[in-house]
């Protein structure tokens, strides 16, 4: 038996292909939207994985350090290091800033890490170029997406930093590239006030009678000195000893140190389920709308194509073609349109995805699911046209 669907498509292949390409661009937009969501999830995941930590110790009762502000004294790590099951600790400070670079602003996440020895929790796990930070001040390792080059000097707040290393896929949960600097620099950047503010603050403190009490010498100086110290960090990253139970160690820290400690699973929940929940719903809504629009467009295209063949379908019915042959022709055309559309869409998403400012992750399993959904939508959408075709009266071929 002749395949009527393929013959019809080949007869007007240009029009069919053009329609498929148009549909493909819409499918490409849908796949990209899904890729943006996957990219957000992946950004959160790499942030967790690349920190090299098993536990995140943060200020009590906060969802820090990524989802909420958290502030700890930078010597808290000493007491944590003594808890059974803790192999290594590392202070870390995180701050997202707008950095001026080559005449344009770049949003980056500054990460302060301890640089006294390599592979401290929080340090980038690998470099694509250069070396680790060796000095206690004014060196930096940048993610490639920050656009910095090795040896380049970049001004971060008050000080210039030299880029000594480059890394890749080290981003914040928002997808901003990270710049790693020594912890002391990050503490200054985050907690230390500027000179004008310090002068102003000193004057206010000096004018406060509470710091000028008779018989308490040195009180004002002590208060002034403490105002110029930056001794806080956002989190203490903990690496556990082999075989240690993360939940048990986190429980110990919470119980004895009056701090909050999150395991990897809990941090994933915070970053992926809580932090991007609204964005995920937003993208989900877009995906649903795009799926409905795609279905409506496919239904409209197939319906129009079918109505253009009313006479041919009437003749086919008149000469004895069974309903399943006519329905099969329409269904096959709808599926062919879906296949062309999906291929064009997948290629388009792959081409324009890297141009997006945020990471677009197109997963093979999403492509497979997307393909199945497109085919299902096309099959369902073709039912409208099939109903119309089966309702065509064979008498229309005779006229009168």
């Amino acid at each position: 038996m002749i395949n009527l669907a393929s013959r019809d498509v080949l007869h007007g292949w240009g029009k069919f292909l053009f329609t498929g390409v148009g549909l493909g661009l819409l499918i490409g937009a849908t796949l990209t939207m899904g890729g943006v969501f996957r990219g957000m999830v992946d950004d959160g995941q790499v942030l967790i994985d690349n920190s090299g930590a098993d536990l995140w110790v943060v200020q009590q009762g906060t969802l820090g350090p990524y989802a909420e502000p958290s502030s700890l004294r930078d010597d808290v790590w000493r007491s944590i290091a003594g808890i059974k099951g803790v192999a290594e600790t590392g202070n870390a400070a995180y701050l997202t800033i707008q950095m001026a670079h080559k005449g344009k602003d770049t949003r980056v996440m500054i990460v302060g890490i301890e640089v006294d020895r390599p592979n401290r929790p929080g340090a980038p796990p690998y470099l694509t170029a250069g070396r680790p930070i060796l000095q206690g001040h004014y060196e930096a390792i940048a993610d490639e997406r920050a656009g910095l080059k090795l040896g380049e000097r970049v001004k971060i707040r008050r000080h210039d930093h030299t880029v000594v290393g480059l890394t890749r896929r080290m981003v914040s949960s928002s997808g901003d590239p990270m710049i790693f600097v020594p912890l002391k620099d990050a503490q200054e950047i985050q907690f230390l006030k500027d000179n004008d503010a310090l002068v102003n603050e000193r004057a206010r403190t000096a004018a406060n009678p509470a710091f000028n009490r008779p018989g308490v010498p040195g009180l004002l100086e002590a208060a002034q000195a403490s105002a110029t110290q930056a001794r806080s960090v956002n989190t203490v990253l903990v690496r556990l000893a082999p075989g240690a139970d993360p939940t048990a160690v986190a429980g110990e820290i919470q119980r004895w140190k009056r701090l909050t400690a999150y395991t990897k699973a809990q941090m994933e929940d915070i970053l992926i389920a809580k932090l991007i929940a609204t964005s995920a719903k937003q993208i989900g809504m877009f995906l649903v709308i795009l799926a409905i629009v795609t279905a409506a467009i496919v239904a409209f295209i197939i319906y129009t194509m079918t109505l253009a063949k009313v006479r041919e379908i009437a003749v086919l019915k008149l000469i004895g073609a069974k309903n399943r042959i006519i329905a099969g022709m329409i269904l096959q055309q709808a599926l062919a349109l879906g296949i062309i559309g999906f291929l064009v869409g997948r290629i388009a998403a792959g081409l324009w995805g890297p141009a997006f400012p945020k990471y677009v992750l197109l997963l093979p399993q999403d492509a497979v699911a997307g393909f199945a959904i497109v085919l299902t939508i096309c099959a369902l959408a073709s039912s409208v046209a099939i109903r119309a075709a089966l309702a065509i009266d064979p008498a229309e071929a005779i006229g009168g």
């Binding site: 002749i2 003749v315 008149l318 000469i319 004895g320 042959i325 006229g399 009168g400």
Partner: protein, 236 residues
Amino acid sequence: MKDIPAIQLTGLKKRYGTGDAAVDALKGVDMTIWPGEVVGLVGPSGSGKSTLLKCLGAVIEPTGGRMALAGDVIYEDGWKIPDLRALRRDRIGFVFQAPYLIPFLNVTDNVALLPMLAGQDNASARKRALELLTALDVQHRAGAQVSQLSGGEQQRVAIARSLSNHAPIILADEPTAPLDSERALTVVRILNDLAREYQTAIIVVTHDEKIIPTFKRIYHIRDGKTHEEAGEGRPI
């Protein structure tokens, strides 16, 4: 089989609508067509020609009377055959005013489609198609697209399609309307030759004054009733 009519209608009726809005398109048509005969069916617009053709083609259901094809009762107080599509496919060929060929199939496949729908394999269906195209002198256009054919060639391909399943009956609805005199007479000659060769009963609905004199028998239809008269049977 010559003594069994290919088509026999007895008091065939068709009413559209109900109540006050009812219209009697056929008011008791009697008609007998023998195998190998080419019969004209003429009448003014609205006389019931198309309704009669649709009843004969099992496209619409009559509302009364009796219809038999080659001795088999097809209709009598309802259809007597459950699969009307199979009836049309296997026993009735259609030729329309416009050829209504399938534009996305080439000439051979347009003719071969019907046998394929009936279950024949592609090779034998195409072989049959080529035989018919040769018989109708359009074999040189076998691989062409429909849009590349002239009006006369398209009509001959349509006739070939109607014959492709060895249908014993052909219903031709104004088959010469779009053709000039010469081509119209060629089509009628082809129909006569086929009727003679394959013993096919052919009913030609027409207004065409050029071809009416060629029929040996003519049924006139007016106000839903037919009366038969002898035609001139002018040689073509």
